[in-house]
């Protein structure tokens, strides 16, 4: 179990805010815990806040990709937010491309991206929560007329 990194609930998403220099075992523990929590809470998204992180090496970078892949399998989306410029420059030099990971400048923008992604992948459960409107689940034309959930 990872006591190092608290996993918080943020609406229909989980928020992980990395504040300390993690050793590899903690990183793996966090990854496991997240998978469990996504399933347990039915979260639709994961936000990993790394604004306090001063280096991202290949191990942590790989965790981001794994969590993104894993959450996709569990029908959730992952956004990494707050990467510092020096960290980004270093990652490019290291050759790590964070495949499949979405990123945003800060928490607020990450939240907005998540809302958009989740709106694109609404589930029966989400629709059941909208009591006053009918939304076709099968929408071959791809033209959905739903309110932007971020504005609610």
């Amino acid at each position: 179990m990872s006591q190092q990194v608290p996993v918080l609930r943020l609406g229909n998403a989980l928020l992980v805010s990395i504040q300390v220099d993690l050793q590899d075992d903690d990183v793996l523990a966090l990854q496991e815990e997240l998978a469990e929590r996504i399933v347990a809470t039915g979260a639709r998204g994961v936000i990993i806040d790394i604004s306090a992180v001063d280096i991202v090496d290949s191990f942590i970078g790989r965790m981001f990709s794994s969590i993104a892949a894993l959450s996709r399998v569990l029908d959730a989306e992952t956004v990494v937010v707050g990467m510092r410029p020096a960290v980004a420059i270093t990652l490019v030099e290291l050759g790590l491309s964070l495949d499949g990971v979405r990123t945003a400048l800060d928490l607020e923008k990450g939240r907005a991206i998540l809302d958009r992604l989740i709106a694109d992948r609404r589930t029966v459960r989400d629709i059941a929560q909208d009591d006053d409107e009918f939304v076709p689940i099968d929408d071959p034309a791809g033209e959905r007329h739903q309110p932007d959930p971020s504005r609610r």
Binding site: D21, Q23, S58, F59, I89, E93, G95, L96
Partner: protein
């Protein structure tokens, strides 16, 4: 940790926590010689990769970190040594994306790009020693 009066630090690398300590020490030394933030980040990231290799591939080992001077510039030299299996094919190991198993194969090749000087001394059955230097600009 042992520090001699000449400012050479030697840390053991035998656990994940040790890798974290190496990162922190390299950061402190890099700040000490006023490396730019980007250069600090590059050096610490390279050190993290190499220390992990020492632990994962070498079994365990040590990191030696010291401040060096040349032609009026200061730098940080970090040496990662182990007495593990050694690297049979160095060219292959330095190829981005090649791993003998499990990893992304970015550690060695990436670390090389992140520093100014990079040198590997390895012998099968005897061990591996990787030396890197980052100079202040």
């Amino acid at each position: 940790m042992s520090t001699s009066a000449t400012g050479v630090d030697e840390l053991p690398i035998s656990s994940g926590d040790d890798v974290v300590r190496v990162r922190q020490l390299v950061r402190t030394r890099a700040q000490g010689i006023r490396l730019s933030l980007v250069d600090q980040t590059k050096l610490v990231t390279a050190a993290s990769e190499l220390a992990r290799n020492t632990l994962v591939h070498g079994g365990s080992g040590t990191a030696r970190i010291e401040v060096v001077q040349r032609a009026g510039r200061s730098g940080i030299r970090a040496v990662f040594s182990d007495e593990g299996p050694g690297i049979p094919d160095l060219d292959l190991a330095l190829t981005a994306g090649w791993t003998s198993g499990g990893g992304l194969g970015l550690g060695l090749s990436g670390a090389k790009r992140l520093v100014d000087e990079f040198d590997i001394d390895t012998e099968v059955g005897r061990g591996t020693s990787v030396t890197v230097v980052k100079w202040s600009r």
